[in-house]
Amino acid sequence: MLGLNKKDFNLLMVVVGLSLFAPFILNIFPKDSAMAFFNGGYPDLMQRFAIFGIFAIGFNILFGLTGYLSFGHAAFLGVGSYAAVWMFKLLGYNVVPGLILSVIVAGLLSVVIGYVSLRRSGIYFSILTLAFAQMMYSIAYSDLFGRWLGITLTNGETGLQVYSNDPQILLGENSPIVPHIFGLEMNARLTLPIGPWEFVFPVGYYFSALFLVLAFYLSIRIFRSPFGLMLRAVKSNNQRMTYTGLNPRPYTLAAFIISGMYAGLAGGLLASMDPLAGAERMYWTESGAVVIMTILGGVGTLIGPVLGAGTIKYMENIISKMNEKLLHEWFGFLPDSLEYSIVWVASWFTGEGWHMTQGVVFMLVIIFLPGGLVEGGQRLAARFGAKSNDTGKTAQPAE
């Protein structure tokens, strides 16, 4: 089906299913219950799951298949966002031109950066990509290009946004004034209350999820293609590859460009959900974050990056919101001394300490589960005697 074998098709269906039912899965706790804090099913976070899933899938095509560790992929995400916002400013809020341009611009940038960086391998490649991305960040943060040209290009640290006096030449009398796809607004949503539950179905999320499914499908096809085979050959043995008459560089460059375009698409989608592009999304730690997502989920696996992106974004958004007051409420039933010691310990890892949790989880995964969550799933499946296959390990929810 769709040019996939049965196993891959099943995996694709799992992703489709997860995407479709995410509003239910992520709102598993009733709205007013104490556990509702852990619900991740609000529009912004669900959109981020999908968008960063796309970003990580693209990154995995480069890192997972060829083994080239880029530390500068956030640059492509950033220029994608800038490109999309510029389209909003010049043409209007329909997201289609923005998304197209964001992919094109990120693609062009990745041709340049990839062409130069791929002349080196190993850590030299990583540092080259890092250097390029940091340059792009500095240029965006102080709007250096804009300054050299005498215009506003990135609007510095405030971020590029749409002003009411922008040209927006395609903006008709009745066009929405928020990003939309042919009139369907990205921030529109349906709310479905069932008993104590409340499920939200945001347009923006389903729009992003559509791209996630497409991106995932494309990545399966690439993994199973002769091209994907060649990329794995690059990672496995570059020497044998050249002595087999193959030129690794166009293969890695193509992978680099594809993953750059994925990142550009993710950036364009981010801007479509929220029409503001900030320079911080190009900072090197953001590039590090996509590496972390990919590894956490399982590098080189199909579903891993999606799981990793979901886990990191969930942690970032939920754990950082656990403040001490909340902790005291939760542990208030305990005797005071116990309550205070638990809260003291927990506060290292929650609220402003969420970076600590991220660091710890990340280290634990690298040390004990080098294959990431996918490997964890496989081990669990093996322990409980289930057949260890690709679908088995995706049966668990995204978080």
Partner: protein
């Protein structure tokens, strides 16, 4: 005029003359062995043939075309395949995938973007790879991961990959190094079989005289970066210079 013509090749590393005025001619459809003591420059010569090293002076012609200045993959595409001393295969992939990489390389050249095709639906490539595995008696190992295979099997796979590219010249760098006797004999038989089945020129660098004398039709003896003598195996065996420079030492 041989298929491979090496003329006046010199290569220095700092103060060391690794190759001095090497001349070599390998005739089409023969097995040509290059032997010599350690440090004689055998590997350096080989590396000059496949583009890994560029000689300081001299020329290397393959089938009338110069290989100098070409990148390794271009030289491979001209029809020269190399088998390494330690088997170089794609360690993280399985046997069939290894085979398919070289079959794709033969069919599509150095680069072809096929990101949407399913590799297992490329019938001709799959069939060719399977055929080659059958020929090499490895078909039942097709799903094995190469990392867990024996050295002999790895060597066999590497040779299979090279052959699937239908090279005109196969370069073997000590193909039996580090192998047990049984594996060595198997490899000799395999190479003999290959020579019988197809029109192919084989150049072999080898330490093991047993292997050399079982296979070679011509032998070049290299010492201190220069060819001492080139002749048939029988003549080489009795050659006094060779006795002195190499075989005597071994005895």
């Amino acid at each position: 005029m041989g298929i491979l013509e090496v003329k006046d090749v010199n290569k220095r590393f700092g103060g060391l003359q690794a190759l001095g005025n090497v001349n070599l001619s390998v005739q089409e459809n023969t097995v040509h062995a290059i032997i010599g003591p350690n440090g004689a420059g055998k590997s350096t010569l080989l590396n000059c043939l496949i583009g890994k090293l560029i000689p300081d002076t001299g020329s290397v012609m393959f089938d009338g075309q110069s290989v100098l200045g070409r990148l390794p993959y271009e030289i491979n595409q001209m029809g020269i395949s190399r088998v390494f001393q330690t088997p170089e295969i794609f360690g993280e992939l399985n046997v069939m995938e290894n085979m398919m990489i070289s079959c794709f390389a033969k069919r599509d050249g150095a680069f072809r973007m096929q990101a949407m095709a399913d590799m297992y639906r490329e019938k001709e490539v799959v069939e060719k790879a399977e055929k080659m595995l059958e020929d090499m008696a490895m078909i039942d190992k097709r799903h094995d991961h190469t990392a867990s295979m024996s050295r002999g099997d790895k060597r066999r796979l590497e040779i299979a990959m090279c052959l699937s590219q239908e090279p005109r010249l196969l370069l073997l760098d000590e193909p039996t190094a580090g192998m047990a006797r049984a594996d060595t004999n198997n490899t000799i038989d395999l190479l003999k079989q290959i020579k019988e089945d197809r029109d192919i020129t084989i150049a072999i660098i080898e330490h093991d005289m047993h292997v050399v004398f079982s296979l070679a039709e011509r032998i070049t003896v290299l010492a201190q970066g220069t060819p001492l003598v080139e002749d048939t195996p029988d003549k080489i065996k009795g050659h006094p210079k060779v006795q002195e420079a190499y075989l005597g030492e071994a005895a």
